[in-house]
Symmetry: none
Subunit: 153 residues, 2 copies
């Protein structure tokens, strides 16, 4: 497969391990190695996850800024400094580091939602709330789908 689609609700065990859905793993594998990058979603209590492609986009963004500018160093702290490189183990699982778990409020279960070029990890309750909200807004935004937007892949 090419994009992250669909969503899954998996257990987080006592060691902080979660299974990465098999279909997501196959998307990652297609991008190269079985590594996964995760960082707090800017502006949401969730985690943004993706493979080499996602981290490449972030890199490109930051490298476009002048070296030693405050802008670049500050953004890097948030985007790279809070980013974790998670190795997918032989059983298809990752370990969620504590600070990322805290950011998303994740305890014993996690929802993983495909968003195309990346996927997000949510605490199930918060995800429900967010989804209820987005159902409403999708109605409002439907007209956007009818025309092409610049920058869309």
């Amino acid at each position: 497969m090419e994009r992250f689609v669909s969503s899954f609700r998996n257990k987080v065990d006592g060691k902080g391990r979660v299974s990465v859905p098999a279909v997501f793993r196959s998307v990652l594998a297609r991008q190269g190695h079985s590594v996964l990058y995760a960082y707090p979603s800017p502006g949401a209590p969730a985690l943004d996850c993706g493979g080499e492609r996602l981290i490449g986009e972030v890199s490109a963004l930051l490298e476009g800024l002048p070296p030693y500018s405050d802008e670049r160093d500050l953004l890097s702290v948030e985007l790279f400094g809070r980013c974790e490189e998670l190795k997918v183990d032989g059983d298809g699982r990752i370990v969620l580091p504590d600070d990322l778990r805290t950011h998303a409020g994740i305890e014993s279960e996690a929802v993983m939602v495909g968003l195309g070029h990346k996927f997000q990890i949510w605490e199930p309750g918060r995800f429900e709330a967010r989804r209820a909200e987005s159902v409403k807004r999708v109605g409002e935004l439907r007209s956007l789908l009818g025309r092409e937007r610049p920058g869309d892949a």
Copy 2:
């Protein structure tokens, strides 16, 4: 690994020794030998660190400035003049020289944060303040991130 990502909080012992996070060491190793260059971060109470690649970038940056110009001489003094070449010992540790420690205000603990092409060393308290600042900035500049919006779900 390819870039410095994630952050770590390590102890500084009585001799000034700190462990370089294993993942950072592997990035350095990929760039050649296990040497690490460190100098005061221009404009911040922290230390900029990296391997051969970083020092190469600094050289290129300086060589792009007009020879004998004030800005070139001043930057050279600041970046090269205060730069230390630190050897990573067999246990993966470095010794932080006193003047660098003083510049960063580091006492018994240090935060090491990956910024992609380099990483920084901070005194934990000061880093917290810095991070708060970066969260704010990311919020302001989220439009830079293109399609990555809080309403993405």
